[in-house]
Symmetry: C2
Subunit: 191 residues, 2 copies
DNA sequence: CGCGACGTTGATTTGCCTCAACGATTGTGG
DNA sequence: CCACAATCGTTGAGGCAAATCAACGTCGCG
C-alpha cells in the first residue's frame, strides 16, 4: 500500500530503491475505522497523514457548538494541522475519518530524521504545500466572489462524485452555509 | 539590504558566507514605486517577491469589476501566485505595491539553480509555505465563524498599525465586506 | 483651482439564517 | 431480526446582517 505514496512522491522527485525502503520503514501504514479522530481540539498534532484509501475531514467548532468543515482529504492528499505540528502548539481543529481509511502516517518526531535521510522530501513537501496553499487561496476567492448557490453549482460540477460521497450537511458547512439552504438549492427553490 | 532576507532565512536554516554571497548573486534587490504592478491577471507569474521594505497586496476582480483583496504582504513576507509560478499558467490575480517598496526578487527561471546550490532553501520555503498555509486556514476560520464586525475588531486589535497604513476600502475588501459597512462599524452605528 | 479618489450617511433590498415541524434512512440493542 | 432511537434531509415562516444604491463632504494632487 505504501506504493501509492511512493507513486505520488515520484510525481515530484525521484526515489531510488534504497530510499523507497527507507520510506517504508519511516511511514507507518494503518487502517482506521470510520469516524475515528486523528486529532482533537486542544491536542498537539503528532503526525501528517497521507490518505491512501478513504476520506477525512478537518473541522472546528464555535462557542455555539456548531461544526465548521475546514477541508476534506481524499486519496492522494496529505492532511494535518501544520501550525500545531511544527510549533507543537494545541490545535484548534479536529481531524476525523469519514470512511474506513488506509493512511500513511508520518510522525512528527521521525520527520526530521526522514528528511535528513531523503533530502528530496523537503522539495516534495514544498510542492505539496504549494498546491495546498493555491487551493486555500482558490477557496477564499470563491467565498468572496460567489453566492452560496454559485459555489454549490461550481463545486458539484467540479467534483460530482465527491458530492455523492459525503453527507450533505458537511458539504453545506464546507461551502459556508446551512444544510437547510443546501436542501433548498437542490430542490430548485432558490432563484 | 539583502541582509534583511538573510536574517529571515537564518531563522529557519543556517547559511555560511559562501551561501550568503550566492544568495546576493541570485536575488535581485529592486526599488519599486507606489502602485506598481508585479503581476497582472492573465500573465504568468515570473518571480517570488520578498518585501524588504514597504507593502503589497494581491487582489482579483469579478465580472462586475469589483476588486477583492486576497492578501497583504509587509516586511519579511514573500508574495507571489504559487499556482501560476510553478505550473506556468496564467494568473487570476494582480499583485501591486501599495507604497514605495524595496523587494528581493527570486526569478522563477533562476530558482531551481539556486535551490541546487543551497539545498537548505527547500526547507526554508517549506517553512514559509507552512506559515502561509496556516495563515490562509486561519483566515477561512474567521470568515466562517465571525461576523464582519467581529472580524474588524479582531483584526484591528491584532494589527493596529496596519489599519493606519492601508486605505479603508482595501481593508474592508480583505475582511469580506463593503467600505460602507466598515464606515458604519467605525462610526459605532452597528450593534 | 478643479478633478478624482476616498470616506460617510441613510433608505431600501436581499441572501441566507433561525426556528420549528415533519419524513426518510440508518444503526443498534434487546 | 425487529423496534425504536438517532441521524439526516426537507419544507415553510419569519427575521436579520450586510449589500446595494444614491447623494454628499473632504482631502490630496496634477
Amino acid at each position: 500500500m505504501i506504493s501509492v505514496l511512493v507513486d505520488h512522491i515520484r510525481r515530484y522527485v525521484s526515489l531510488d530503491e534504497r530510499e523507497v525502503a527507507l520510506l517504508a520503514e519511516y511511514i507507518e501504514v494503518v487502517d482506521v475505522k470510520k469516524k475515528a479522530f486523528l486529532l482533537k481540539e486542544g491536542e498537539v498534532c503528532k503526525a501528517n497523514y497521507f490518505v491512501i484509501k478513504g476520506c477525512c475531514r478537518s473541522y472546528f467548532t464555535t462557542e455555539k457548538d456548531t461544526e465548521h468543515v475546514h477541508l476534506f482529504a481524499i486519496e492522494n492528499w496529505w492532511i494535518t494541522d501544520y501550525g500545531s505540528l511544527e510549533r507543537k502548539t494545541p490545535s484548534m481543529y479536529y481531524i476525523q475519518t469519514l470512511e474506513p481509511c488506509t493512511l500513511g502516517v508520518l510522525n512528527r518526531d521521525k520527520q526530521d530524521e526522514l528528511f535528513a535521510a531523503i533530502p528530496q522530501l523537503e522539495r516534495y513537501f514544498r510542492c505539496v504545500l504549494e498546491t495546498a496553499l493555491a487551493a486555500a487561496h482558490m477557496r477564499i476567492k470563491y467565498i468572496y466572489s460567489q453566492t452560496g448557490h454559485e459555489r454549490y453549482n461550481h463545486f458539484s460540477t467540479l467534483f460530482p462524485e465527491f458530492v455523492q460521497r459525503i453527507p450533505q450537511y458537511m458539504l453545506a458547512s464546507y461551502l459556508g452555509f446551512t444544510p437547510e439552504f443546501l436542501s433548498k438549492i437542490r430542490a430548485g427553490k432558490i432563484s
